[in-house]
Symmetry: D2
Subunit: 358 residues, 4 copies
């Protein structure tokens, strides 16, 4: 296949490396407005071709797909042009900067019967897939709540706030593992350094089935924390992505509620403290699995695991969070619940890809 990567700044080079090393890729074109970045790519991978203006790409013959890793607000216009031309499109997370633009791309991809995939990288990690298995096997019992902390010092984004930058990971992990999407969102935060660009925020996702998820994000924390706690009725799980050896710990702890009890009598819950178990997680590069998955979906006409609807769902939550931030943290309903719901049921048959549309 002939593939182009548009945007070779911060994240792009990782995508370039993975696509260059794939034996499914015959030719790779790197595209960036900054000549220095193109030189850097050429230097690292002498086989790639380079182009400064992505408009030129539209004229390149036999191009199969484009991979977009540009600033968020440019995702939609660029992707639209290529989808309209009948190219397959991979977009870094978040899919676009608004629900409406995301939906437009989703519709366009369906109409053109092209693969539209979003880079929710964590859905391709061994740890998150292990957690998904544990949750689906019922080891944790009924899930009660999820709590995520994803903080560190930097990196300020020029055009999006900390929720749009960091929370897509948490939101996509939660929706992937729980196979549920929230119905409303609260978010409270503050922009300390750049007006209108919140650099710290706490977002609460409220799910229809009563599950609640708390997501704390910051660009201003002295420690790098990537921690997700999933509390179930039977067991509790902590996923610490910074921990090298024990990324997942399952705590055999819980609250024991007597089967029935006199509500007027004294309140009597007991606590269970059991063993802690840390399953072995295989090491592989999730980005490699993600990029291969995109190429496989193109070849076989499949719907990707993290398809346009998956991207749309995350954008819908982010848009609601932004609205809540502007309204002092009050609950804001998720847009497009019906669309999200229908496709969610169709899509997510676990890790296996669903059949395509062809």
């Amino acid at each position: 296949m002939k593939i182009a990567v548009i945007g070779c700044g911060y994240w792009g080079p990782n995508l370039v490396r993975n696509f260059v090393q794939s034996n499914k890729v015959r030719e790779l074109i790197c595209c960036d407005l900054d000549q220095k970045r193109l030189d850097r790519m050429k230097n690292l991978y002498p086989s790639v071709n380079v182009l400064s203006d992505y408009k030129e790409l539209l004229k390149v013959p036999d191009l199969d797909a484009v991979v977009i890793a540009t600033p968020v607000k440019t995702h939609h216009p660029i992707a639209k042009e290529f989808l309209e031309q009948g190219k397959h499109v991979f977009i870094e997370k978040p899919l676009t900067h608004s629900y409406d633009t995301a939906l437009e791309l989703v519709k366009l991809a369906e109409e053109k019967k092209k693969v539209l995939m979003v880079g929710h990288t964590f859905e391709y990690t061994a740890a998150v897939n292990k957690i998904k298995d544990i949750v689906e096997n019922g080891e944790l019992g009924k899930i009660l709540y999820v709590s995520c902390t994803r903080v560190n010092l930097g990196l300020f984004q020029p055009d999006i706030n900390v929720v749009w930058d960091l929370a897509p990971h948490d939101i996509s992990i939660i929706m992937y593992v729980l196979r549920e999407y929230p119905v409303s969102v609260n978010s409270q935060g503050k922009a300390h350094f750049k007006p209108g660009i919140e650099d710290v925020a706490t977002t609460t996702l409220n799910f229809k089935n009563g599950i609640v998820a708390f997501v704390h994000n910051s660009w201003l924390d002295p420690n790098k924390i990537r921690r997700t706690t999933i509390v179930g009725t039977k067991r509790m799980l902590v996923y610490d992505d910074v921990e090298p050896q024990e990324k997942i710990k399952i705590y055999d702890k819980g609250v024991e509620v007597p089967p029935y009890y006199d509500t007027y009598a004294e309140f009597q819950f007991s606590y269970r403290y059991g063993d802690i178990h840390s399953p072995r997680i295989d090491d592989y590069e999730p980005l490699k699995r993600e990029s291969e998955h995109f190429l496989t979906c193109i070849q076989k006409g499949l719907c990707p695991l993290s398809d346009g609807y998956s991207g749309l769902r995350v954008v819908s939550v982010l848009e609601a969070a932004s609205k809540s931030l502007k309204q002092n943290g009050k609950a804001v309903s998720i847009k497009g619940l019906k669309i999200l719901a229908k496709k969610f049921r169709n899509n997510g048959n676990g890790f296996l890809m669903t059949n395509g549309w062809r």
Copy 2:
């Protein structure tokens, strides 16, 4: 002095131990409805006297003060009876279960010229006082935000939710260290086990000067976490109360903003990563310092560090959080801002006690 401790259940015995060991206390009376608890106290401290009904205490001659460690909803009626009789009163946190009842006790204590103190224990720890010094010395620069996590498995309270149980520590620490109180509060949470009693919640405090504080509390977390992060413009501080040796770490990290910059130009912040410093914290029992402080305030006619107004401020925040929880997390204004403000300025001359009213 002759002192009575009412309520010898979960926390009461710690208060009994500290008051028994004080050389300022001549006689101590333990009061509890449960004879077994009284027997236990008598067994541990043979010199104490015991009483089952606190109403009997009202008839005891020469009683100087009462210490109340009963369920939260009984704080107000019990305290009121003793204040009306002209006794000094110490109440475990939170002061009472509502703003109005807390204010009534505060007014009554002023009128009767008696000491009213609330058990905000953390204000008496070496770590929190060290942090207060660091913040006041300007080592952290201007404070931007505070983030607190106080979670563990259990202990469910019968009559109050997790915010009323755990957040008083966080809220009192924040207000003590910052010498500011919030103007509005958001809180999102969920009651999984007992209807109406939230067992997990995230609360956001919004301060007039733009500081924001995030407080996450849970009775359902597999790990015991007590972590407070204070982010300033110059440095960042993490207080981890579970850590035995390095409770406080000061990170010489920050965001460097150029003095002025063209907003149309590319966004250029830089980051500073420097040394980490962990000051030595002296070890002592804060409860001992707290109980001695109460006795000293009685003897010298002083206003305690954690006086009734301090308790009122915390209750005011808790009440707003409860309202927010019932209104899907929307921002709720703090009640009684004027009263809180006036007294706040008068009171808190650092750690030294202000002069009394006599």
Copy 3:
């Protein structure tokens, strides 16, 4: 029973507390040359009687047993006097300061048919007994080696070096868990502050069956470390006594050796990296279990778990270590191997006590 505790300095008060609280003890006498310590004991436990000179104890009628927590070099003369009088004797670890004096006490106790017990406290902890179970169940496979680190800043002992102070814990744990004793010992160390009193040392125990144990002890380490690693052919275990929640971790890791292989061919071992499991450990005070065990052995005429022979074995290793330290670390054989061997087989029927001699 009527019991006396001789030596109420550093460790003695813990023994006093546990014996005072036992319902098997009718009368407790505290004995110390320092009147201030006696006053302190009397103050904490008004029911105890006090005596300054232990010689006076020899005249006290109906005394059942003595508990000796004095400086190490006085263990032997004091214990000897009471054993000769037909009293049961408990001695803090190490049993005595030399093999010969330890053996003399052991023989004397046998002759007088009295209980002689040594305070190897760790043999009474839940963690060490859990480890013993795991090893005996074969979960770790054949044990290859043990590595222990027990270091911290202070506490210098006036009359014994760091090996005699800290290593008795490691040595007694190793021998208790493995049910083996070493045949020779190397020890290298240094006395930095007090001539002849080593403050840091590394001791190697060589067992007949090929197991080796490494023990590192220091009074000069900035961190408190209590860590024991047990490496088996099937699994590996780490016991970290400082860790509050995960004291024991079992690593399903190992080296896979092909069943047979051409030694001339390339060396091909593979590694297994599996799950990590941390079993729940019950919390109780080991000293309480230890003191009750002493009283039970007296009542029922049983041989204690940590009997005189157990103490003798540890002393024999310590004496060899001291010799090795004086001989630049060369291997020194353990004294009295035949005596140790015979009794070792008789005694240790797991955690259950063996029948006594009466």
Copy 4:
């Protein structure tokens, strides 16, 4: 310069990468008996040339230097051939497999006036150089002892034991930081899997000035530990190379000895517990600095920081350790103390390179 890397197995590719990226290198030749490894190198770095037999290299014209990363026992014969031909030589640690062969290379390099450098990588890390500064500035006071633990699961070496594999790092760090070399060595260990190849060992280095260093190495530990503790009279330092953020911690702790005291009186030391400080360590790849240093030394005719004598010193300690292992751990004197001493004084002017011999 025209450089060849001999041995592209485990460590070689890292050397290839660094030399390829250096602008001082005009042509790089990779040499390995395994064609698959050569293909891999060619694939990663299309500009390199490849050769299977190193003997062919001897015929290559204009070759400036060779970098040897082959099994340890082949270091000496290969290096000798190239030194005799007048090539500069870099050898991975340890320099050779015996004192005599190492000394032969050192003499040969001196005679031929060629650079002989050994890959003591840690001497090029920011952390170790920071520690060297701290020690030389006297911040720790007089150094009392050093304790190192370097353990993990695997990697078994076919021809050398765990001391020769892992301890060179510890030994070179200790000698680099202290600027002292030991006079005798004890080592105790065990070969569990391959006869004669110890897989766990504890080695004690005894220095003339009374400093002692303990080094524990294992290929059979479930955890990866790289920890060095340096205890001084004024402060203590812990270097934990596995820790991402706080690699070095300086503890303001110590023992306070009264200036003079009556030795008959009670032993009275006191302890100081102060702040903990973790200096910021810059991040760079030490191997890059090491490889550049080799090239600079060639260009400018300088003696490298880790020159042949440095390699000889480490080999001398390793050889003594091997002898001690075969003699049940008894102390073995270091060979060639006079040679090591003379050159040690000449060489190590801190981090700056000394002038060359040209």
